[in-house]
Symmetry: C2
Subunit: 201 residues, 2 copies
């Protein structure tokens, strides 16, 4: 059995959203599964002394244009949300709660649902009321989801995921590790495809 | 006649070196030419409040690995030079001297020659003696090249190129502008190919 592809993402990252739309199909074509890691880019940015691309003059305007163009290139619907970027810890804690109590399938469904809500319909994942509505619409127990994101145990779980990501060398998102080989960025898709098809190159 | 592709580069950028190896063939396949702009990333980094990827902890190690892998992906020979990054203003001034006095063909040959010297054989372009030897080996008058990089007129020409690049939105390298559409990075090759083939998408 081949090792899963580790996929690190922040719910506030447009490039991670785009990658979330193609990674499962790509993995499946090569007999792989995807192991998702919801993290907070704020933590990895601090470790690597980085900031969001939209926090830089000049690069900001390019990035907003490139987010949308890269989505169109992959055939993925996309609109820059009114509130962007946002703190995504509640959505991430829900991910880990689902991952650890209901398994990767349910957690992946939540990842897809939350990413699409934010980057297609502009649903502000940092707003607790909107997040409860989204949880319910995604088939979850909204009260239990809210309890999870306020629970110190799931806060701690996300903290652990952030620390493990930094220890693994993650400094941005999306970030992939395939058989020990790291790939940063939605634009590393062709290289990931090649390493899956023919091994290290 | 279709507009040329504007290609901005710094002789110290590994990704710009890789792109310099494929941009002419890609342009030619689509009936385009390439208009090169040698610039200093230090200037665009300052304008956009950025630093080199190798100046960041964690990202540094990834980047060194990714430079080499991205070169292999494109089938381009590459070795991280012993001195990296380096100040590249002298090589850039020689580029503009050639561009403005002998034309784009000779300047492009110099760009290819200097990039390969640095990123294949590790020739330190910031060392005047090594640069003179390289200029001679590249078919130039080495004394005239040295005079050019010490000449206030060509220093001013490079300064103008830097200012024009910042004004055009350039914040990193390689940076391309195709019919007004900006693309940053060696990894935007597939998007550039698509826009050349089928227009804006």
């Amino acid at each position: 059995m081949k090792a899963p592809i580790d996929f690190y993402f922040d719910f506030s990252s447009p490039y991670a959203y785009i990658a979330n739309e193609w990674i499962d199909a790509l993995a499946a074509r090569h007999g792989r599964t995807v192991r998702r890691h919801a993290i907070l880019l704020g933590v990895t940015f601090q470790a690597a002394e980085l900031k969001s691309p939209v926090a830089h003059p000049i690069k900001r305007e390019y990035s907003l244009r490139d987010f949308a163009r890269s989505a169109r290139y992959e055939g993925v619907p996309f609109a820059v949300p009114e509130h962007f970027p946002i703190p995504s810890q509640n959505a991430a804690r829900v991910f880990w709660w689902l991952q650890d109590t209901q398994g990767a399938g349910v957690a992946s469904q939540w990842a897809r649902s939350a990413f699409r809500a934010y980057f297609v319909r502009g649903v502000d994942l940092s707003e607790p009321g909107a997040l409860k509505v989204l949880a319910a619409a995604s088939g979850l127990d909204a009260g239990a989801a809210e309890a999870a994101w306020n629970d110190p145990a799931w806060k701690q779980r996300l903290k652990l995921a952030n620390e493990q990501a930094v220890a693994a060398g993650v400094f941005g998102a999306p970030y992939f590790i395939v058989d020990g080989e790291p790939f940063w960025g939605n634009d590393r898709k062709p290289q990931i495809e090649r390493v899956l098809a023919t091994g290290p190159f």
